[in-house]
Chain length 402, copies 2
């Protein structure tokens, strides 16, 4: 719905509990080497099929027809936040991705370590894809740089990529990239488009100059390029809008970070699907909304590893037995976006969705697959409307108007 | 569509006639005690099935996925008025509900008769649910109160509930409730949030004080609580936007009131489904749009009375024979919202819809049920778009652009 004013007016606190499982990159395409079937169509997933048969199904459109989302916007959408309205810059996502605790008005950017020649001109924008450990060393060398009035947090992400967070008073996020995107030239000077951002740009330029000196002794990865500046701002919380007390069960920091923006409490979930379900059981009494995230379907899709994706789905399916004895008035199994193995990347295709609740209309879907869910009672609908359906079925919305 | 600027540009007056039947609370859920079928699936409704088979079907979303509407917004939506844009306050709906003729800038509120002790503290917010006759007596006692510069209309609604309308110059509707919603305290002082509403709040406070004196001799129902203040404003009329000459055939005042807001002429419709259809026949020549409302399906749903709902549907179906000989270029049978017997309340579930017209695409729907209509040519679509489809099929819309 993403009409937060309306939902805030109508939502009410109740005792009912919601389980919201997101299988990352769930949706897929038929694969010519696997009987022209999708991973879901190949997998042995009796528990999911049963849930689909008893529940109400559909396909979700992550952002809009034809739009391929990143994980950030795709997740925001599932939790009812219109990703076009609540856009989170890459710098902030990157900082959240490595687990940085952001504060209101922090400015974050993505960092690329690059290689420059003795004149300062860029010879390799990715510094020969240095290993992540080298990236971490470079970050710690740079952490000695001091610029008055601003605290700087630098952390390695992966290979040549790192994250920069600037913290201080009067910073602005409307700062242009220093990455020229071409070789043979010097890094660009950052520019700010308002007075606070101008001041921030000056800090960025000072940092870049000092970084060049600090790293000058290295043959490669001896300079930094910055892009994707964004200022962190608080989003409406799920507590405030939905009157929920929500928890996040995820193994990857990025998902804990994004959902923390929405007010979710990140639980210690271990590193496996099994440990995630154990966490759910252990903390069942402490929250009324559980987001449980399954990561490896997406990675398998990105790698084009069809067999792996099928195995992850089957492993997940086996773990669904752990739900026995837990009482959820609504259980959802869905995905944030599709990651078709044949495309080896995220895609725009609508994503299978099950809502299981005694308050919803049953349909004729008997298998949890892309083709079957398309025939479900919800049809193909915007992911951002899912939360309203969930709250309605959980009895957490009052009537609109008399 | 609710894009009134566009529709106003495109609509044209023609001789074709439209019949628009709204079965209140039509949609339902499968009932475990009735073969896991809905009332529509259980009912013997050969005429409706025939209409569904010959016509084009779908399911309407009253306001938005997951949102449960009151009757007011649900009806506005069916007539093409976006209920989130044209919100009507409870006070105005209440006044319309008892048949009050509202004028532009009137301010209306809901009244609860309550009981206070000798110190003026509330001991019963519903005054022991006094009978409606007692409520009417109290209203007439209060009608003697005079406040200079404002006319006051007080009328009984049901039991302890009544309606207040204030008429005069310079009134405002942004007035806070005097109902504290708890016992053991005095009624709250009303406050206004702009200068006209402040003046109105002062009138409300004077009325409350005088009401306490006027009713002081009674043991119970000796004070009033006011809430849901709203100022009446005119809506765009169906004459203006659609170039229709519309009539309302309904047995309940509330529906006559709401549709009068849209420019419909309320006809004398008697009190039964049969008399409603007789009215339709009798006045067939006088209008080009007939809204015909069936109420008792909703009441049966609210009472959880499955058998009753089935009977009302069957009674309605028999009356459809009365349409023989009348020539409508478009006939619609739909509902304003669902009222599932298992929930005993309005709900958010999409509602079966038939549009019968030689200008529309037929589909494979053969039975008028929730499950079948989901497979219809219109799919699941916003109720507020229905009027545009109706006007199009009736040949009442010009082409957009060259």
């Amino acid at each position: 719905m993403a009409n937060f004013e309306l939902i805030k007016r109508l939502s009410r606190k109740t005792d009912s509990k919601i389980l919201f499982i997101v299988i990352d990159g769930l949706g897929d395409l038929p694969h010519p080497d696997h009987g022209n079937k999708s991973p879901l169509e190949n997998a042995q997933i009796p528990n999911l099929d049963n849930l689909a048969a008893k529940g109400s199904c559909g396909l979700t459109i992550p952002v809009a027809l034809g739009i391929t989302p990143g994980s950030g916007p795709a997740h925001l959408s599932l939790f009812g936040y219109d990703p076009l309205e609540y856009e989170i810059g890459r710098g902030v996502l990157s900082a959240l991705g490595i687990g940085t605790e952001l504060r209101e008005s922090d400015v974050a950017a993505r960092v690329n370590f690059c290689t420059v020649d003795k004149d300062g001109n860029i010879t390799d924008r990715r510094a020969g894809r240095i290993p992540t450990e080298v990236c971490a060393q470079r970050c710690s060398e740079l952490s000695r740089i001091e610029i008055p009035g601003v605290e700087m947090l630098l952390g390695p992400e992966m290979e040549y990529r790192a994250s920069l967070v600037m913290r201080g008073k009067g910073l602005g996020g409307r700062v242009s990239d220093t990455d020229p995107q071409i070789l043979g030239v010097k890094p660009l000077k950052a520019k700010g488009s308002d007075s606070e951002s101008e001041r921030t740009a000056a800090i960025v330029n000072e940092l870049t100059e000092k970084a060049g000196k600090a790293l000058g002794g290295h043959d490669k990865a001896n300079m930094i390029l910055l892009r994707g500046f964004d200022q962190y701002r608080k989003l409406p919380s799920m507590q405030d809008v939905y009157k929920l007390n929500p928890a996040c069960i995820a193994t990857y920091p990025m998902y804990k970070g994004v959902t923390k923006l929405l007010g979710m409490k990140a639980l210690d979930a271990g590193e496996t699907i099994e440990s995630e379900f154990e966490t759910l059981k252990k903390r069942y009494n402490d929250f009324d909304f559980f987001y449980l995230h399954i990561k490896k379907t997406d990675s398998a899709g990105e790698d084009g590893d069809f067999i792996k994706k099928v195995h992850v789905l089957e492993e997940f399916d086996k773990n669904l037995g752990a739900l026995e004895g837990l009482n959820f008035s609504v259980a959802v199994v869905c995905g944030d976006h599709s990651t078709p193995c044949v495309l080896k990347s995220h895609s725009w295709h609508p994503v299978p969705f099950i809502l299981s609740s005694s308050n919803e209309r049953p349909d004729d879907v008997r298998r949890f697959t892309e083709r079957e869910c398309a025939k479900g009672v919800f049809g193909t609908f915007p992911a951002k409307e899912a939360m309203t359906l969930v709250l309605a079925a959980a009895g957490k919305l009052n009537k609109f108007g008399a």
